[in-house]
Symmetry: C2
Subunit: 637 residues, 2 copies
C-alpha cells in the first residue's frame, strides 16, 4: 500500500449518508417481498392488499344448540296455540353445525318442551335466519381484509385465515451478515491469553439488528488475510441483503476491509467526520450494502446507529423513526472538535422536576460507558462545545418512564452501592439506580447542583481528624443537606501478594511505583494527608499522576504489575488477592438534600442498606465496620 | 352429565382473577430461571447480579500503531535534544497488541523519524502508560456489571463478554401450550367443506403470547373425545408452564374441558361475569396453569387479555403493565347488562382536536370487529350503559400516534374506498384510513357530529330524482359541508347465475325471497322508492326485514341461496358470479366538512381517487361511471 492510501476521508455525516443512499438506490438496493404462511406472519408487513377468498362463516351455521327448522312452519306458535314438532320437522344441531337443506332457523334447546318419542312443543315462532350465523356474517368473499403496508396483528392473522387466506406476500425481513475479522480475535471466553481480544462486537450488533427488525447471521471469525476475508465476503454477499465487516476498516497495516470491498465492488465513503466512528467504510458489492465497521466497540455502535440502522430500514421498507429526545441541563462543560460531529454518552437524572445530563468517559474502547449511558448527546460538527448549564436535547437510550423512576447516586466509589442496588432489584422495588463515580468532592457538587439524590463521601478534615461534617458546614452553610450514616471502612495500602517490595508503612511508597486516585476523591485527600504527615511531596512519588477512578481499578493495576502500591479499601484488595496494610478506618456517609430525604426511592435505599441481607453481603466482602447508627457490629479485620 | 352441571358460575372478573392468582401462588406457580449463553441473552432479564470475571482489557494493550518503549528511557527527548532509539530499545506494536515485558508506553508511528536500519529518532518523550490501554480501563474484575432484574441490552451483552462472562442466569421465557379441540375444527384452508370450522384461534393466541414475551407451542388438533383431550393435556402440562385448551370450555354436550381439568387437577373458576368471554375455565394441573378458552374468537381474545396476559406476566416475573387509555367522546349510546362486565370494540377518530369512539358490532364470532378495532371500551358490571356524548376512557389497541394519523371515512359501503386506501398505502402516504359502513344517512350524521373526515353518500331525492344535493341543503342549511364528486355507479338487482327465478324487473321481487339493506343505507332508500314506484308495500316483500350492511354481504347471501334477489352494485355481483339486472346509475359523492377540505389526508385521498391507478382498478371492478369532474370516461356496462 502506498502512503497516500493511509489517509481517510472526513466526510460530514449527512453527506456520507446521502451519497451512500443515492448509490445504493441506483443499484436497486431496497425492500423485497416473500410469500409466507399466515400462521407465522404475525408482525410482518403486507406488500399488497389481501381480500377474503371465502366468506366467514362459509356456510349457514347454527348459532345455538337446538333444532333446525323451516321458520315458516313455526309461524303462529304461541302460548295459547302451542305448535308440535314431529321428528321429520326438525334436525338436532349444535352450535357451529351447518343448517340442513331446507332449514332456515334454529330453535334453542331451552325453548323446546320435550313430549317424548322425539316430539317437541314450542310456544313461539322463529323468524327466518333467527339463531343462525348466515354466510358472510363476519367476512364476505372479495372484501379487502387489509391494505398494503399493514402490519399484521394477531387478530388480522385470524381474520385472514377465517377468510380462507393461508399465504400472504409480506416484506422480507432483511438478512444482515456479520463477519468478525482479526488475527487477535477469539470467541468469548473467561480465560483469554494476553493479546487475545474477545469477540463481543458481533453479539452487540446482533442485538441491535434484531431490535431493528432484521435477522442477523454471524460468520466464523476470519484472520487478517486478504483471500480469507474476500472469500467470506463473497459468501455473505450471496446469502444476505447487507454485510457488516467488523474491524480492519481503518488504514493500518492489517486493515484490508476497504481494499477488498473496492476490489469486489464499490466504496462510496471511507472515513466519516464523526467521533467516535470515523474509520467506517460504506461500500456495495453485487447490489448488497457492505459496511466496514471500526473495531472499537463504541465507534462501531455509533456507526451502527448512524449508518446501519438506516440501511436496515431501507431494506425493510420501513420509515426510519426519529430518535426520541429529552431536553436536559448539561451538568459539565463539553469541548468538541470542529473536525467531527461528536456523540457523547451521558447519564440522565431527574431530581425534583429538573432533568440533567452528565457526560460519561468518551473513550472509544469503553463499552461500559454504553451500559451506563441513558442518552446520547449529539454535538454538531460546527459546534466547539457546550457550556455547563445549557439546555440540550438528548437522544434517549432508555424510556423516559424508566428515567423518571431512577435513583441517582454519585460520589465516592464503593461496591456497597452496587450491592444495595442489587438487593433493591431483588426486592422488586419499582425503580432503578444509576450510579457514577465522581469522588467525594464530586458528590458535594452534584448534590449541591441538584444532579443527584445521594452522594457517597468520606472526606477527612485534616485539621480535626473528623470526617465529612466540616465539609457539610462549608458547602451548605445555610443547611439544605444532611449526612446520613453509611459505614465505616478500612483504608490501607494494597500491594502484591507476599509484599515483594517490603512495604511496611505509607512512607515506603516513596521508593516504589504508586498508583493514585483522581483529584477530588476522598482517597486522594487521604493520600495527600499521609504524604504531608510523612514529610513527602507529590514530586517524590513515582506514579502520583497515574490516576484511577475506583478502588478496583487501583487494585487491578497492582495485580497486573503496572504499579507496586496504592491506597484502597480492603474489599478491593480481597478480590485481587493482594496483601493489605491497614492505615485507618474512615466514615463513609451519604450526603442527601433535605427535600430528597423522604423520596420513596431514597427511603428504600437506606432501608436496604440497613437490612440483614445487606449486612451479610458486606461481611462477606470484608473490611467494613458497621456503625452504631446502623446497628452494625464491628467487623474490621 | 346431569342437568345441573350445565350451569356456569358468573363470578365478577376481579374476584375470578384474585381467586385464581391466590390458588396458583399457593401451588408454586411463578417465574423460573435458566442459564444461557450471553451471546443469545439480549432482551432477557437477569435473575442475579453479574460481576466481571476478568478485567477489560485483561492485559496492557497498545492504543496505537507504533513502538513500545520504557517511558523513562525517553525522558529528556525534545526538538533540541532528539533521542535515538536502537532496535533493542523498542518493539513494534499494532493497536491492541500486548505491551512486551518491561515496556510501559507506546510512541505513535507518526512521531517516529525513520533513520534506516531500524533506527528511529524522537523529538519528545512519552509519559508512563501513554498510548496504552491499561488493564481494567473498561471493566475491573469483581465490578458489578449489572444487578438483578436488569434487561440485557446489546451493549450490556457486549460488556458481559468483555468482562469474561459467557453464561448468565436469566428468567425463563414462559412456555405456553395451545391445544385446539373440536370435531369440526380443520387446519387453515381456502377450501373448507360445509361444517368445517377453520382453526385460526391458535394463530391469534400465538401472536398475542409472543407479543407478551412468551413462547407458544401449538399441539395438533384433538377431537372432542375425553381420553384424547386428557392425553394431550397431560403431554402439554409436562412440556409447558401454562396450557390453553381452546374451545369446549362451556357446558354443552361436547364440552369436556372443565370436566377433564377437574379430574386431573383443580378448577378454581368456571364462568366469569364478562361479555364476551363468559365460558372460561381457570384451572391448574401439577402446578401449571390450565385455562379453558371459549371457542368464539372474540370471547377467547377477551379471556386472553383479561386472564392469560396476567398469567404470562406472573410466570415471567414481570409486572403487568396497565393498558394505555385515551379519553374519547362516545358517538352512540351503548346499553349494557348488569350481569356482566362488558368489552366493546370501538373505532377511534380524531377530527379536529376531538377524540371520538364509535362502537363496532358486538358479536362474539366476528373476528373482523377486532381487525377494525382501535380500542376497547370496558363497561363495568354495575353500569347499565353509556349515553352518546359522554367522555369515556378507552383502552388503546393502536398507538395514539397512529390514531392521530388516521383518515376517518364512513358512510355508504363501496369497495372503491378500500382500493383508494390500498393505493394510498402503496404510495407510502404517512397515514392510515379507518373505514366503516354506516350507510348514507349515517355518513351525514357522522360528518355533522364531527365523527368522520369524509362520508360516502348516494341518496336519491325521490321528489326531484336528483342525488345528494337536497340532503346537503336540508342537513347543512347554513353551509359548513360540501359535496366532493366521487363516481357514478350502476345499481341493479343481483340474482343467481342463470336467473333461475326469471326476474325481469324490480316488480318481480314481490314473488321471491329478497335480502334488504339496513335502514339509512342509500340502497335502502332506492329500494323503498322502487317499491313505491311499483305500487308495492314492504309487507308484500318476503325478506324485507332480512338486512345486511354491505353490497358483498347481500351478494354472498344470494350466492349461498339464502335469498333470491337483492339490490347492489355491479362490482359485488361480479365477485360472486351473479347475474345482474341494471336499474339505475347513481351519483356516489363524498360529504366533507369545509374545514377538513384542506387536511393533507383528505387531499391525498381525492388525489388518489382521481389517479390513473385508481381508474384502472375501478375499470377492472366494473360498473363504475367515472364522472366528468373526475375526467373519467364512461364505463357503464
Amino acid at each position: 500500500m502506498s502512503l497516500k492510501q493511509r489517509y481517510l476521508d472526513n466526510l460530514p455525516l449527512e453527506e456520507a449518508q446521502a451519497r451512500y443512499r443515492a448509490h445504493l438506490l441506483s443499484v436497486g438496493f431496497g425492500p423485497k417481498a416473500e410469500t409466507i404462511p399466515v400462521r407465522s406472519a404475525c408482525g410482518r408487513v403486507l406488500t399488497r392488499a389481501v381480500y377474503a377468498a371465502i366468506c366467514a362463516p362459509h356456510y349457514n351455521a347454527s348459532a345455538m344448540d337446538g333444532v333446525a327448522v323451516k321458520a315458516k312452519a313455526t309461524f303462529g306458535a304461541s302460548e295459547q296455540t302451542p305448535l308440535t314438532l314431529q321428528p321429520e320437522d326438525y334436525t338436532v344441531v349444535d352450535t357451529g353445525d351447518p343448517l340442513p337443506e331446507g332449514a332456515d332457523a334454529v330453535i334453542m334447546v331451552e325453548d323446546l318442551i320435550d313430549k317424548g318419542d322425539g316430539v317437541y312443543e314450542i310456544l313461539s315462532s322463529v323468524r327466518p335466519w333467527q339463531n343462525v350465523r348466515q354466510v358472510g356474517e363476519d367476512l364476505c368473499m372479495g372484501d379487502m381484509i387489509a391494505p398494503s403496508g399493514t402490519t399484521l396483528t394477531p387478530a388480522l392473522c385470524g381474520a385472514l385465515l377465517a377468510g380462507g387466506v393461508t399465504q400472504v406476500e409480506v416484506r422480507k425481513v432483511p438478512v444482515v451478515g456479520i463477519i468478525p475479522t482479526g488475527d487477535e480475535i477469539v470467541a468469548p471466553t473467561s480465560d483469554p491469553q494476553p493479546g487475545d481480544i474477545i469477540e463481543f462486537n458481533s453479539t452487540v450488533f446482533c442485538g441491535m439488528l434484531e431490535s431493528w427488525g432484521a435477522k442477523a447471521v454471524v460468520y466464523p471469525i476470519v484472520k487478517d488475510k486478504r483471500d480469507a476475508i474476500r472469500a467470506m465476503l463473497r459468501q455473505a454477499v450471496s446469502d444476505c441483503d447487507l454485510v457488516l465487516v467488523s474491524a480492519g476498516s481503518s488504514a493500518g497495516r492489517d486493515d484490508y476491509t476497504c481494499e477488498i470491498i473496492r476490489s469486489e465492488g464499490t466504496v462510496t465513503v471511507h472515513g466519516i467526520a464523526i467521533k467516535p466512528g470515523k474509520p467506517a467504510v460504506l461500500g456495495e458489492v453485487d447490489g448488497k450494502a457492505v459496511v466496514g465497521l471500526p473495531g472499537y466497540p463504541v465507534s462501531a455502535i455509533v456507526v451502527m446507529e448512524e449508518i446501519v440502522r438506516g440501511l436496515v430500514a431501507l431494506a425493510g421498507g420501513k420509515a426510519e423513526k426519529a430518535p426520541q429526545t429529552l431536553d436536559c441541563v448539561l451538568s459539565k462543560k463539553i469541548v468538541s472538535s470542529l473536525k467531527y460531529k461528536e456523540f457523547v454518552r451521558v447519564t440522565i437524572g431527574k431530581i425534583g422536576s429538573r432533568w440533567s445530563a452528565s457526560p460519561l468517559p468518551r473513550g472509544a474502547g469503553v463499552i461500559s460507558s454504553f451500559t451506563k449511558a441513558d442518552g446520547m448527546l449529539v454535538i454538531d460538527q460546527n459546534c466547539e462545545g457546550i457550556e455547563a448549564g445549557e439546555t440540550v436535547p438528548v437522544r434517549l437510550l432508555r424510556s423516559k418512564d424508566e428515567l423518571e423512576h431512577t435513583l441517582v447516586v454519585t460520589g465516592s466509589h464503593d461496591p456497597l452501592i452496587d450491592e444495595v442496588t442489587d438487593l433493591l432489584r431483588q426486592n422488586g422495588e419499582p425503580f432503578r439506580v444509576s450510579s457514577t463515580h465522581v469522588g467525594s468532592s464530586g458528590a458535594i457538587s452534584a448534590v449541591k447542583a441538584g444532579l443527584a439524590h445521594l452522594g457517597g463521601i468520606h472526606l477527612l478534615d485534616t485539621a480535626t481528624g473528623e470526617y465529612n461534617k466540616s465539609y457539610l458546614k462549608q458547602h451548605f452553610p445555610d443547611g439544605g443537606a444532611v449526612l446520613v450514616p453509611g459505614v465505616g471502612r478500612v483504608q490501607g495500602l494494597m500491594v502484591k501478594k507476599g509484599n515483594p517490595c517490603g512495604i511496611r508503612s505509607f512512607a515506603d511508597v516513596a521508593r516504589v511505583r504508586y498508583v493514585n486516585r483522581q483529584r477530588g476523591a476522598g482517597t486522594r485527600v487521604l493520600c495527600d494527608y499521609l504524604l504531608q504527615q510523612n514529610g513527602l511531596s507529590p514530586q517524590q512519588i513515582e506514579g502520583y499522576d497515574n490516576v484511577e477512578f475506583t478502588h478496583t481499578a487501583v487494585a487491578a493495576l497492582i495485580a497486573a504489575g503496572n504499579a507496586d502500591a496504592g491506597l484502597g479499601i480492603y474489599a478491593a484488595a480481597k478480590i485481587y488477592d493482594l496483601d493489605f496494610i491497614p492505615i485507618c478506618t474512615e466514615t463513609y456517609e451519604f450526603l442527601v438534600r433535605e427535600e430528597s430525604l423522604h423520596d420513596p426511592m431514597v427511603e428504600a435505599f437506606f432501608r436496604v442498606l440497613r437490612s440483614e441481607a445487606c449486612r451479610k453481603r458486606l461481611l462477606e466482602m470484608g473490611g467494613y465496620q458497621l456503625t452504631k447508627e446502623n446497628t452494625y457490629a464491628d467487623t474490621s479485620e
